[in-house]
Amino acid sequence: MRHLLAIEGLHPPQIGQLLDLAESYVLLTRSGKTQRDLLRGRTLINLFFEDSTRTRTSFELAGKRLGADVINMSVSTSSVNKGETLLDTAATLNAMHCDLLVVRHGQSGAPNLLAQKVDAAVINAGDGTHEHPTQALLDALTIRRRKGRLEGLTVAICGDIAHSRVARSNIHLLSTMGSRVRVIGPPTLIPAEAGRLGVEVFHDMNAGLAGADIVMMLRLQRERMGGGSGGLVPSAREYFRFWGLDAAKLARTKPDALVMHPGPMNRGVEIDSAVADDPARSVIREQVEMGVAVRMAVLDTLARSGANG
């Protein structure tokens, strides 16, 4: 594995190995140990063209725990604002001898373009509405640790599927690993031919949640609501009524179903606080912990294959 650009196309053993390695990093971190020699002398650049505190911090922490030199570049401080193209940026990064490049970009496919031009191993930290591979891996790790498996589980992904890279990566990963994936949302937020990705599509949330083992809620961006060019749902109150996760809708799932959310949450829009904060059901905070472990596993794997290659 030279880069991690997408989940689509990965084989079950590759995913399984990443999750196994991540699992070992969970135990290592919990025991208070680090492995600062693994990436000693390597340079990791966090190149973020979109704001993100959570993902950037998670990669930064993962890199530091493995001993890498971590540099954060965000769009507001880089020369991209001065008209530099993506490929100019790539040339600059090559001159800096970057080993691992973590990229977030608003355009689908931007990390693929960079991967063609830079010497570093590229890790997609979210590109447009395409993929967010490490989010899907951390979600899978969270599920696997709680349920002991991925195969045979029914996972319902709810909300703005159309604009979600988290949904796409999760759909690919979970169906590759043998889960049954459902997507739930208003028709205006379900992308065309979603069923062709191997999922079952529901517009009625109560029907879609029936018997589910896992409920993954997605963030609804404010610009999707109301008027203007983006309006795809009429209002927050209507969205919450029909597609917000509350206790009544959650009661349709299996009694031990888990609630997940990639964050940051819109409480009262896509999720009721009573559900989001329910320690018996919500694993939202655990997802964050798994995020660091999964990113350590990804950096480790790519650094090793880079060294071998």
Partner: protein, 428 residues
């Protein structure tokens, strides 16, 4: 006024398009419901008797798929009470009310209010349409889910077309998630803007700004494609041209979720009715050439058109006493819905069963309500009429407030003798 002992209709021709029943017989109402019907029911205890005149027909109360009420906001044109009076006189017991009022029916509370106001009339069930867009302004999607939950039967911006293809796509897709239909006023707004009559020789002679008939087919063609794209259901209101009907006929054959209605003016009148600038015949869409009128009639007969609606648009004298292009479009239609439709039965175009079906069972099916049928246990919403009884439509003497009938002076055969709502006589 309740008659707990019941009402026995005797000596009537029972006609129920929902079941295909057409036979002389009797029908018994008890506790507001149809208790029994058949060739002969004997003498039920204590029931009062309504004897049908020779040839009188007892059918389900009519279901009007489309009518504007003056309320809220235009009470000078019509009120719910005056519309209910006109509806009862026209044999109508269930009516779907358009939402482009002031304020528009774009809030769940307004849907509930209209339903309640209907119940308060005691004679008319009002089924509210919800607005597709807030304020029927054609910009932001209204809360279709909450409106549907409150009892909106379908969604439309009323007399206003949804002009943006993107907005129509979103509306069709979103409404489909709730199993709801979008009802379109099929007229391309950019082509229709400023027009007063169908573009052609007559409008040219009269010097009136024209609306090309193609404005209808263009929007119908677009929305059929959008229905196919989204899997949503579209309904075209008051279809008036042969071109549009050909598209709809083909779309139905292709299995696309498309339905449509028309209104009596479009199969009974043509553009010459605007004659000497008669503003009562100024309608939206405008009256068409006679070829189009004939095409509408043919589509009624072959079933392409799913229902005949009154398309009641109340206007007061001041709305109409203006130069033609400035006068408000729209015609009163509640009292004449049955009579003008029956003219096609007398003319031999269709049978009585088919004509009454277009006014009862078929609009009820489109609205998804249990009205419009004779069934044991169903609410006794009934219309007793005589198909041959003659009368003359005369503006100024019509029941209700709105007098703006495009049929002024028209002699009709077919008159409502009595209307019953939940077993209670509300007209005749």
């Amino acid at each position: 006024m309740a008659e707990p002992a019941g009402v026995l209709f005797t000596g009537v021709r029972l006609l129920d398009p929902a079941s295909g029943l057409d036979q002389p017989g009797e029908l018994l109402v008890r506790d507001g419901r149809i208790a029994d019907f058949g060739a002969s029911l004997g003498r039920p205890d204590g029931a009062s008797v309504v004897r049908g005149d020779d040839g009188a027909v007892l059918c389900p109360g009519l279901v009007d798929l489309r009518a504007a009420l003056g309320e809220p906001g235009a009470e000078y044109r019509e009120t719910i009470a005056s519309a209910a009076e006109a509806a009862a006189a026209g044999g109508i017991t269930t009516l779907a009310a358009l939402p482009d009022t002031s304020p528009a029916i774009d809030d769940p509370a307004l849907v509930r209010l209209l339903r309640t106001r209907g119940e308060e009339t005691g004679s008319l069930t009002i089924l509210p349409y919800g607005a597709v867009t807030r304020g029927c302004r054609g910009e932001e999607l209204a809360e279709l889910g909450l409106l549907a939950e409150a009892g909106a039967v379908a969604f439309t911006d009323g007399a206003r077309a949804i002009g943006s293809a993107r907005l129509m796509r979103i509306a069709l897709a979103y409404a489909a998630g709730f199993g709801a239909r979008i009802v379109q006023h099929p007229e391309d707004p950019s082509l229709a803007a400023g027009g007063a009559a169908t573009e052609g020789e007559l409008a040219t002679r009269l010097g009136l700004p024209g609306i090309p008939a193609a404005a209808e087919a263009i929007l119908v063609a677009r929305d059929i494609r959008l229905a196919a794209l989204t899997g949503g259901a579209v309904h075209f209101a008051h279809v008036s041209t042969g071109d549009a009907l050909r598209l709809i006929r083909q779309a139905k054959a292709d299995g696309i979720a498309v339905t449509c209605d028309t209104a009596p003016p479009y199969f009974d009148l043509n553009e010459t009715a605007i004659g000497d600038f008669r503003t009562y015949a100024k309608l939206s869409p405008p009256l068409r050439r006679d070829e189009d009128r004939q095409a509408v009639l043919a589509a009624l007969v072959d079933g392409t058109i799913d229902a005949v609606a009154s398309d009641h648009q109340p206007r007061d004298a001041d709305d109409k006493r203006l130069p033609f292009a400035q006068a408000a479009p729209g015609g009163a239609g509640l009292a004449t819905l049955l009579g003008v439709t029956l003219a096609q039965v007398h003319g031999g175009a269709m049978g009585l069963m088919q004509a009454i079906g277009l006014l009862t069972a078929r609009p009820a099916a489109l609205l998804g309500v249990a009205a419009g049928r004779l069934a044991k246990g169903a609410a006794a919403d009934l219309c007793l009429f005589h198909p041959e009884r003659a009368w003359q439509v005369e503006s100024g003497t019509l029941p209700g407030k709105a007098q703006n009938t495009p049929f002024d002076g028209r002699a009709l055969e077919g008159r409502v003798l009595g209307t019953w709502k939940a077993g209670r006589r509300v007209f005749g």
